[in-house]
């Protein structure tokens, strides 16, 4: 499509002659570090979160290695605490939270609504720097002794009893949090004010509804975490006693604040994933989504309900039984919009012209894993059952099914689906189709045994366990290896495709949506002229033949 790649970087030619895209517009390092182009910021985020993902995975791998044997294997209890803490901190705040919103969201929000950029491009760049500074501080904490509080920083353990690098980690998360907030504000404002002519709210792709709901959570939940972490820091330095019962404070208050953020934060991670899936499914089933408005409002309902369920993390922390009942019921309510989404996605497949492309395989894997994660969530929301399986591997398996099985699989699916648009290249379909099932199998092998382990009573965060549990732990660690290979394959062929992949063309999937109506990779200002939308979203019935590379 573009010939820009063949033009050497000499004196700039007139734009009319050379169709540059956002990657070739300017090529100095400084032009990348000071860019305000949402597409370039997407690339910056993609590089940085991939690096953090590698760190976080390494920690997870060492945890699984330690759990191979009942005796704790090759690490001490203290090292083990640091490993799972840093795994959680890095994966939650420096990979999952920014994963889909800051990469695909940054790239697609302006493109999908037909805008030239986000509303506040400079703030967008600032978000990345805040994220990076926060992440670097977490890494500094890692090399200066690590943190061993668990990613939850429960008081008074984190404030009084531990001598690890809590303070610097907390400050790092605080700074990165403001990056998240600014991203959220940017997307909300962009979607409200910058939709092109004809792009009504109900013509927006469902991905944008999910990003909108996510942004609302980012803006309303993250500040609560920020102030709570400040209080933890203050208490740690001066022992002030807000969360210390000996000094008149209340340790459960910390848990309320923390989960008031951290439960909605789970939806920051998975809602964008739930938004990627209908894009993929509609494209490769060549159909309109079943229940567009239901899916859109389900996103908003999840965002709203997400703020009303936090105390289900505290059923055994001494909250009153009536509060427990209310939060148990509210938590089960989250299953309703989640189920609406899953049923709608499945119903969209019905009588569709289904193409089993790589993104489609990831989307189907997502549905399978998300259903398991969601249903075990309902089990955990049950007050009586939670008392039994609270803080066991059942919980660990449940939230990994949502956050890794759900969010990460959707992220990979989205990366595959929009890879031709972002890079202008096609990846190897063969290897992509190979990696998706490997990830699915490896994933289930890793985490399904943990449901059994948890139900049998193995608590989380211990590096030793009774020998009876070894077979499940060995299964889990074996699965982790397969999963690791599954993640390594896309890493290789996606990088390979950057140089050797065939050129994708503007619309390789013959998909609807404004992002496919502009060249791949898009020019710096996205569209040659402001597009005008005249049809409903996902108008696949207007397309004659489904042409795909599959």
């Amino acid at each position: 499509m573009t010939t820009a790649d063949y033009i050497p970087d000499v004196a700039p030619l007139p734009a009319a002659i050379v169709p540059t895209n956002y990657l070739t517009d300017k090529e100095s390092l400084l032009s990348w570090l000071l860019t305000t182009d949402h597409k370039r910021i997407c690339i910056l985020y993609t590089f940085s979160i991939t690096a953090f993902f590698v760190f976080g995975s390494a920690m997870a791998f060492m945890v699984r290695l330690a759990l191979l044997t009942p005796g704790g294997g090759w690490v001490t209890a203290e090292t083990y605490n640091r490993l799972f803490t840093m795994h959680g901190v890095i994966m939650v705040w420096f990979f999952l939270i920014p994963s889909i919103p800051a990469t695909l969201g940054n790239f697609l929000v302006p493109l999908m609504i037909g805008a030239r950029d986000v509303a506040f491009p400079k703030l967008n760049l600032l978000s990345w720097y805040l994220f990076l500074v926060g992440g670097v501080m977490a890494l500094i904490a890692m090399v200066s002794g690590g943190v061993d509080t668990g990613w939850t920083f429960y008081t008074p353990l984190s404030t009084t009893f531990l001598n690890s690098a809590v303070l610097i980690t907390v400050i790092g998360i605080f700074i990165a949090g403001f990056g998240t907030i600014l991203t959220g504000i940017n997307f909300i404002v962009t979607m409200h004010t910058m939709r092109c002519p004809g792009m009504t709210w109900f013509r927006m792709p469902l991905f944008l509804w999910a990003i909108y709901a996510t942004s609302v959570i980012q803006v309303l939940a993250t500040p609560v975490l920020a102030m709570t972490l400040i209080l933890v820091g203050v208490e740690r330095v001066w022992h002030v006693g807000i969360f210390d019962p000996a000094l008149g404070g209340d340790p459960v208050l910390f848990q309320h604040f923390f989960w008031f953020y951290s439960h909605p934060a789970v939806y920051i991670m998975v809602l964008p994933g739930l938004g990627v899936i209908p894009e993929i499914i509609c494209c490769f089933a060549r159909k309109r989504p079943f229940g567009y408005k239901a899916i859109a409002f389900a996103s908003m309902a999840i965002a709203f309900l997400g703020f009303c369920v936090w105390a289900h993390h505290m059923f055994v922390a001494g909250i009153s039984i009536y509060a427990g009942l209310a939060f148990s019921w509210l938590s089960m309510m989250v299953a309703v919009p989640s189920a609406i989404k899953v049923f709608s996605y499945t119903a969209t497949l019905y009588k569709g012209s289904i193409q089993m492309t790589a993104p489609m395989l990831y989307a189907l894997a997502f549905i399978g894993l998300f259903v398991i994660g969601g249903l075990t969530g309902v089990m955990l929301a049950t007050l009586g059952l939670d008392v039994h399986i609270h803080d066991t591997y059942f919980v660990v398996a449940h939230f990994h099914y949502i956050m890794v099985g759900g969010a990460l699989t959707a992220y990979l699916g989205g990366i595959h689906y929009w890879w031709p648009k972002i890079t202008g290249r096609l990846y190897s379909e063969f290897f992509a189709k190979l990696s998706a099932p490997i990830i699915f199998i490896g994933y289930n092998l890793t985490f399904f045994p943990q449901f059994v382990l948890g139900y049998l009573g193995m608590p989380r965060r211990y590096h030793i366990y009774p020998p009876d549990f070894q077979v499940y732990n060995v299964l889990s660690s074996a699965g982790a290896t397969i999963l690791g290979i599954g993640y390594l394959i896309p890493f290789c062929y996606l990088i390979w495709s950057l140089k050797y992949g065939p050129r994708a063309g503007d619309n390789p999937w013959d998909a609807t949506g404004l992002e496919w109506q502009t060249p791949s990779p898009p020019p710096t200002h996205n569209f040659k002229k402001t597009p005008i939308v005249t049809e409903e979203p996902y108008a696949y019935y207007n397309r004659k033949s489904p042409i795909g590379p599959a």
């Binding site: 030239r116 986000v118 962009t190 409200h192 609560v224 209080l231 022992h239 006693g241 000094l247 604040f257």
Partner: protein
């Protein structure tokens, strides 16, 4: 809009019209206010929860506040809110000289507020109300001889801690607001704003009103709940 209009100088490239840009900027500011509201909200909730736990100690703490000074601070805050509103009106009328005068008065009154606040903190220090976390660690105090222990019970010191957290956070926001107002004065003097373009003035106004609103809650919940 006439494309040759000088107002287009203010139009950023990602927007189509100045109206769209103004709408975006205003909405962004309100979204940021929602964030700020929840940020400060944590402190108020924590304060409320601890006050419910120790109503008597917190009542004693409140009754030791210099509430006349608080009253003057509140009067100053309400006056500045009024002045900022007048400044927005002046900006809409294109009266830049008046905008500068009103903002200058606001900044000076803000400095006055912080001076009174500082005086208050100084007086409290003299009265031994500072919780004293810097000098002794409360959890280890029980092992110290009585004359080295803090004279007040931990619950009252907790109240003072919240007082410093709330007023301190508010003071930081005041300083940011004064910086923003000064920047607006500078930009107005440079002729950046006109009757048709003065969005930044409006946004700074929103911020300033928010900071004032926080103070009203601080004053009523920390100073006035004394009986």
């Amino acid at each position: 809009m006439d494309p040759r209009s000088t107002d287009n100088l203010h139009l950023h490239e990602q927007f189509e019209t100045l109206q769209q840009q103004e709408y975006a900027a205003t909405l962004g500011m309100w979204a940021f206010m929602a964030t700020e509201f929840l940020l400060i909200g944590v402190l108020f909730v924590a304060y409320g929860v601890c006050r419910m736990r120790w109503p008597e100690a917190f009542r004693r703490g409140s009754s030791e506040m210099h509430y006349w000074l608080g009253f003057f601070e509140t009067a100053i805050i309400l006056t500045t809110s009024f002045l900022v509103t007048l400044a927005l009106r002046a900006a809409k009328l294109g009266n830049n000289r008046q905008v500068i005068a009103l903002f200058a008065t606001t900044v000076m009154l803000g400095a006055g507020f912080l001076t009174i606040k500082g005086t208050e903190w100084y007086l409290e220090y003299g009265e031994g109300l500072v919780p004293g976390y810097f000098t002794t660690i409360p959890t280890k105090e029980a092992h110290l001889p009585p004359d080295q222990q803090h004279p007040r019970p931990v619950q009252e010191r907790l109240f003072m801690l919240f007082y410093y957290l709330l007023t301190g956070t508010h003071a930081v926001h005041m300083l940011i607001g004064m910086g923003l107002l000064s920047t607006m004065m500078f930009l107005t003097a440079r002729g950046k704003f006109s009757a048709s373009y003065h969005t930044p003035i409006e946004l700074v106004g929103i911020y300033w009103h928010f900071v004032d609103l926080v103070w009203i809650f601080v004053f009523s919940s920390v100073y006035l709940l004394r009986q």
